[in-house]
């Protein structure tokens, strides 16, 4: 694969300068048009050591209007990064719509390096690459243009380059020990990289292997590739070319014990106040103990709450929170997104709030808004909410794989019970704020929501992240069900 990038292509200084002027002004034009069209661009600069990746990053920064560009070098991880799923650091660096992110290092770096140094097997590498394909697809579906540059040097050229850099006092500082070590592993590195490139060379995010021996050639080539990608995206957008409709699997929901449908939730379960007090005391004390143990063992917990309006989410969340030291928990209520949030993929705002190891975060409403309210109200297109099931499952899998607990609660009540609560809220001064026009409007769409909920549960109640459907007509019983499940989930991993 790399042979095509060992042909000795060169550009003379005159040719370079002539072409560069035109290229730069076209790139600027494209940048401004992309800003206008709110198209974000990610340029991944990767390749072998000594191929001039750093220089390339500088060059790109110089070509664009700096007000729209941010450069992110993914290098050593901070503890805030390593204590969260691996992609957290990439999500926090995603360019907003209309902006350009230049990535020096990327989601490719760790999987390749791990494989080269024998810390992972080929099949582990492959599943890491699959996850990458999924991520890039998801970003591309959301309109992000991804240009992946692999800068290549032959083994001989690499050795020459690094020797030269190490000698020159001007560049010696740039050659680290790790660089030299990687260089020794050239063949291995080359094999692993080729596998990575091959398996992730998708239509929505193709790889470009750039012959990097000649600085002028590689720069013009990189500029040209970026320009073409941007122009193509602008053209597509202008044509209002919609992405092909995404097909979700037509397989029937898995016959999993955790999967149920709303009708099967037994809404008659009830608890006396005395039984509730006793059990709640015990459960809260268990939760106190278990959250401290989770802190000790560095287990992160995400508990998410969805449910009908007035199903009792707030009260249930309060019972959970009360039991936990405030230093270990935070609650993230999801309301209308800010403009920074709107300028990113819809999952971005949730990545933002993931807990560090040993802590718990409760989401009061969640990413499921995409397949519930956004679906029913038409805020998301059918293609968008349909592909969200896969996106959500992938996201949740990452949370669980990082070694955390993910508990998902759907609070279910009957339509009659909802009406009773709405009316009670309107009569109670400390509750009247909880009831709005929107609630009444949602209520009218009950059957549409019912469909959406059933499909949501069917498609996202996975082995690693099953839904817990809570019978909510009796508030006391509902709270006990929730704490019981949380305690059980924590006990299982601790």
């Amino acid at each position: 694969m790399f042979e095509a990038a060992e042909l000795g292509r060169k550009v003379t200084k005159e040719e370079y300068e002539k072409k560069l002027a035109g290229l730069r002004s076209s790139l600027l034009t494209a940048q401004f048009a992309a800003r206008e069209a709110r198209i974000p661009l990610i340029v991944i600069v990767s390749g072998v050591e000594g191929a001039g990746k750093g220089e390339m990053v500088h060059r790109l920064n110089g070509w664009f209007d700096p007000r729209g560009v941010e450069t992110h070098a993914f290098w050593d991880t901070s503890d805030e990064e390593s204590e969260r799923p691996a992609y957290w650091r990439f999500w926090r660096s995603m360019p907003a719509r209309g902006r350009i992110g230049i990535f020096f290092g990327s989601w490719y770096t760790a999987p390749i390096i791990r494989r080269v140094f024998g810390k992972s097997s080929n099949s582990e590498l492959d599943s890491a690459l699959e996850r990458i394909v999924f991520l890039e697809k998801m970003l591309a579906d959301d309109g992000i243009v991804i240009v992946k540059l692999w800068m290549h040097l032959s083994k001989k050229k690499q050795r020459e380059r690094l020797q030269q850099m190490a000698k020159d006092p001007l560049t010696r500082w740039r050659v680290t020990k790790a660089d030299r070590k990687n260089c020794k592993l050239y063949s291995k590195f080359s094999r692993v990289s080729e596998r990575a490139i091959r398996r992730t060379d998708a239509a929505h995010a193709p790889w470009h292997v750039v012959e990097a021996t000649d600085r002028r050639y590689r720069e013009l080539e990189a500029g040209r590739l970026i320009l073409e990608a941007l122009q193509q995206a602008l053209e597509n957008k202008a044509k209002k070319e919609k992405p092909a409709p995404v097909k979700t699997s037509t397989v029937a929901p898995r016959a999993d014990h955790a999967i149920s449908i709303l009708d099967r939730v037994d809404l008659k379960s009830k608890l006396t106040e005395a039984a509730y007090d006793k059990e709640m005391d015990q459960l809260q004390s268990d939760l106190t103990r278990l959250t401290w143990a989770a802190r000790e063992k560095k287990v992160a917990t995400v508990a998410l709450f969805e449910g009908w309006d007035a199903a009792g989410k707030g009260g249930a969340i309060r019972r959970v929170v009360e039991a936990i030291d405030p230093r270990l928990i935070s609650v993230v209520p999801i309301a209308a997104p800010t403009d920074e949030e709107r300028a990113h993929h819809y999952l971005w705002r949730f990545w933002r709030h993931l807990p560090r190891d040993g802590r718990m975060v409760i989401f009061d409403r969640t990413w499921y808004g995409r397949v519930l309210v956004e679906r029913v109200e038409g805020f998301a297109t059918e293609a968008e909410w349909r592909r969200a099931y896969l996106e959500i499952n992938d996201f949740e899998e990452q949370l669980v794989e990082h070694g955390g607990v993910l508990a998902k609660f759907w609070l279910h009540i009957s339509k009659a019970e909802q009406l009773r609560r709405f009316e009670e809220r309107q009569r109670t001064p400390t509750k009247v704020y909880k009831i709005t026009e929107e609630d009444w409007r949602n209520r009218k769409r009950w059957p549409l929501y019912e469909d959406a909920i059933n499909e949501m549960v069917a498609r996202t109640s996975t082995e690693f992240a099953p839904w817990t459907l809570v019978a909510g007509n009796d508030k006391l019983s509902a709270r006990v069900q929730i704490l019981r499940e949380l305690v059980a989930r924590l006990e299982r991993v601790l």
Copy 2:
């Protein structure tokens, strides 16, 4: 001072429940009114161990509409936090306008604990407290309501409480070793806290010592205090009561070598291309070396650029960036704020981007916008931009005290040179985007800007963060001046 909180005040269950209902509905009403009026609230929950701080935090969370509340526990620091000035972690947790932040632990915690454990002297404590007073004043000036609760227990009560907690399997987990140790230091802790409270009990952010022995009493009391503060703020805002105008010092600018005025900048300095090439090569190589050394020694660098339109900031920044490994530097261009940024104090968006130890951040336009464009265009009131000088000096002092380098460049050109460049930009395809209507408008206000710049330099060229006024009519010479200064500054600390 604490005697008044050892009177044995109690509330019966009946009284508590009766009062609580009214209190809660008033608090909710006030919360919604504050959201409407975009008034942010910070509640600091502090006090002795065992006084029920954690419980209080839970209670407050339960009383308010959770969609507008966030709780921040300032506990162990992450490396991202400890590698930045100490207040960074507080700035990242500031509630946006209209929201409520409940702080469990705060900027008081570290100074008090350090003093109690003998890691700082009284005078070090005092300067930490002075900084706090300044911070709270600055936030209050910006419209934030700050309620500071100090929950007090007598020595005897504290011992009883902790023993009880340690025995009870339900609460035992909450008593940490550190708690027990702090308890032994009761008298010392009490003395230090009293000093802290006394020195920071300002009108804009008064302390409230709450007798915490009785749970019901302390909760009602805390609720009442918060309610009053919110209602007062709402009333003030309704009356459109402007804060008293801030007086800035009328002392003449210090006769410091670093202070100059624009007229004294010698715009005639010029460099031949050959001399430039030679010196630039050397300086860039020095910069490469020094930034790696800074990484090694964990020194953070902030370089900021202000200047007339078309003064050459972009080109100068590029020459700096080129010399530095992209993993060590990032450039933050300051354009119009996002809505999240607008919902905070104007310094918030700059705190956001401070470098970690060992890295460099370049700000392309900065917090000085407040005393330049915002002053001249009237985006900030006179009171606002006048107090900004002190706020900026304090901010910069914190950067430098944390152990970093702060280099501030003003790029100066003559009015005639600006015109020449504007016209050149309009003729050059790759530069035409840089010139807008706004530039021409700004140009017409040259004398107003000149005044603002002179005052800015006079008031903010401090010993720890002097301005470097760069003669910019000759671009080559300007760039050399800048790199020379940066190299010198880095060399001094490394």
